[in-house]
C-alpha cells in the first residue's frame, strides 16, 4: 500500500488484494469466471472499505505483516485436510496434487516478499502474485 497523487493533487491510496482465503478461492480450479468476478467484487469492496475507515494509515510494517501472515495462512489452509476440499477435488491429504503444491508455493513466495521488510518491491509482487491486484482509493 502506498500513496500517489492524481492529476488534481489528491492522495490516492493504492491497495493490493492480500488475504489467504480469497486468494485460495480465486486460485482454485473449481472457481468459474463468474465466481471469480464475485470474489473480486467482494475483495475490492472489503479492502476499500477497510482502508477508508481505519484510523492509522497502513505503512511498510503493516504490509510486511500482512504478506507474511497471508503467506503462512495460505500454506496452512491450502494443505490442511480439514479445509483443502474447498480448493480442489483431488484425493489425498496435505500436498496431495499440483493444485495444492502451487498454492503452497504461492504462499511461500508471499512470505519471501514479506521478509524484505518495509522495502517490499511492489512491482515485483504484482507481477509474481497475480492475486495481488492493485486498485486505487481516493483519500
Amino acid at each position: 500500500m502506498f500513496y500517489l497523487h492524481d492529476h488534481c493533487g489528491r492522495h490516492i491510496l493504492i491497495l493490493c488484494s492480500t488475504g489467504c482465503y480469497l486468494h485460495l478461492l480465486s486460485a482454485s480450479p473449481l472457481t468459474t469466471a463468474s465466481v471469480n468476478r464475485t470474489i473480486l467484487a467482494f475483495a475490492e469492496a472489503l479492502y476499500s472499505s477497510y482502508f477508508a475507515t481505519i484510523k492509522n494509515p497502513p505503512d511498510g510494517d503493516f504490509l510486511s505483516s500482512l504478506l507474511l501472515m497471508h503467506g503462512w495462512e495460505m500454506v496452512n489452509a491450502a494443505a490442511w485436510n480439514s479445509r483443502q476440499d474447498m480448493w480442489c477435488g483431488c484425493v489425498g491429504e496435505g500436498v496431495r496434487c499440483k493444485h495444492i503444491k502451487s498454492m503452497v508455493e504461492n504462499g511461500a513466495e508471499l512470505m519471501r516478499f514479506a521478509i524484505q521488510g518495509s522495502n517490499i518491491d511492489m512491482k515485483a509482487l504484482r507481477s509474481t502474485i497475480e492475486w495481488s491486484q492493485f486498485f486505487s482509493l481516493k483519500v
Binding site: A41, F62, L63, A79
Partner: protein, 302 residues
C-alpha cells in the same frame, strides 16, 4: 443421528429438566465441538421456566463444548482453559471465591459487544455504527463442563457458500465486502484495549496453537519442495511471537465464521433492518483479543 464426543442431550436434560432436544452438528470453528440445539415443541415459547431460565426466549441456541484437545486436530492438545484467559484462570486458581469472575475468552469478547459502557470497556459502539453486522450474545457459561451457550445467528449460508454460488450478484458481493471491511476497521480502531483487557484476553494456549500451525506450515512447504522452508518458518514464528498487538481482532476470520443473510428481512437476522440489505453474522470468537492489526485481513481476505 450424529454421534458426538460429548453427550449434549444428557447435559441439556440434566441442566434444564427438559427432554427431547434436537441436536444438530455445526461445522463451526476448529477448536470446539459445536451444535445447534432446539427444544421440543412448545418448550421455547416462554411458558417453560426451566427452559427460559437458562435460554430466555431463544427458539434455538448454539452450544460449544471444549474438549482437552483441538477438536479438528485431535493430536494437538489444547487445555479446556483456552476458554478461560490465562490471567483470569490464575485469579481463579489462587482465589476460588472469585469464581464468578471467571470468563471465557469468547464470552468476554461477546460481552464486550453487547455491554454498554465506556468505549475502553465496550465494543457496543462498533455494533451501533455497523447495524448490518450481528454478533452472538452469551447466554450461559458452564466452566465445569467447558460449555458455552450463545444465541443462534441462524441457519444461514457462510461466506464460502455465498461467494461460490452462481446466483450471487457482484453487487451483493460488493455490499458484503463493504459491510465486513467497515466493521473490521471500526473494531480495529476501537480503544477497547485497556491494560485490563489486554491481560484478560491473553491466552497462552492460543499463542501456542498458532506456533504449532506454523510448524505444520513448514512441513507442508518442505513436502512441496520449497527450498527455503526453514528460513520462512523462522521468519513467521519470530513475527508471530513479536507481533504488535495493538488492535482488537476476531482472530479466526475465515469463510466459515462469516454467515450471510441476504434473505431480505425474512429471518431473525435482519428483522430490524430495511429490506434489501444483506446482513453479516460473525461467530467463533475464541481467538479474539489483541493482535496485529493486519491479522484479520491477512487471514480472510483473511
Amino acid at each position: 443421528m450424529a454421534i458426538f464426543a460429548f453427550d449434549f442431550n444428557t447435559y441439556l436434560e440434566q441442566t434444564t429438566g427438559v427432554f427431547g432436544w434436537s441436536v444438530e452438528e455445526l461445522s463451526g470453528g476448529a477448536a470446539n465441538f459445536t451444535v445447534r440445539v432446539r427444544p421440543p415443541c412448545g418448550v421455547g415459547d416462554g411458558t417453560n421456566s426451566s427452559y427460559s431460565g437458562t435460554f430466555g426466549s431463544e427458539k434455538s441456541v448454539v452450544i460449544k463444548q471444549a474438549p482437552p484437545y483441538f477438536a479438528k486436530l485431535p493430536k494437538i492438545s489444547f487445555s479446556p482453559y483456552r476458554q478461560v484467559s490465562r490471567f483470569l484462570y490464575t485469579v481463579e486458581f489462587y482465589a476460588p471465591e472469585r469464581h464468578s469472575f471467571i470468563q471465557i475468552v469468547e464470552k468476554e469478547a461477546l460481552e464486550l459487544f453487547h455491554s454498554s459502557g465506556h468505549s475502553a470497556n465496550s465494543l457496543q459502539t462498533v455494533l451501533v455504527t455497523n447495524p448490518l453486522v450481528r454478533i452472538p450474545r452469551m447466554l450461559k457459561h458452564d466452566n465445569q463442563c467447558g460449555i458455552l451457550v450463545q444465541s443462534d445467528l441462524g441457519p444461514h449460508p457462510n461466506l464460502y457458500e455465498v461467494l461460490t454460488s452462481p446466483h450471487t450478484f457482484t453487487t451483493t458481493a460488493s455490499s458484503l465486502g463493504s459491510i465486513l471491511g467497515h466493521f473490521l476497521a471500526d473494531m480495529h480502531n476501537s480503544p477497547v484495549l485497556s491494560p485490563l483487557n489486554i491481560k484478560t484476553f491473553y491466552n497462552e494456549d492460543s499463542e501456542r496453537v498458532i506456533v504449532d500451525v506454523i510448524s505444520r506450515v513448514a512441513s507442508y512447504m518442505k513436502d512441496a519442495g520449497v527450498a527455503d522452508w526453514q528460513i520462512l518458518e523462522e521468519s513467521a514464528s519470530n513475527h508471530w511471537r513479536n507481533r504488535k498487538k495493538v488492535a482488537f481482532s476476531q482472530g479466526d476470520l475465515w469463510f466459515g465464521t462469516v454467515l450471510v443473510d441476504d434473505n431480505f428481512g425474512s429471518s431473525n437476522l435482519d428483522k430490524i433492518e430495511a429490506p434489501r440489505s444483506p446482513v453479516i453474522g460473525i461467530c467463533d470468537w475464541e481467538f479474539a483479543g489483541p493482535n496485529d492489526p493486519a491479522a484479520d485481513i491477512a487471514q480472510l481476505g483473511e
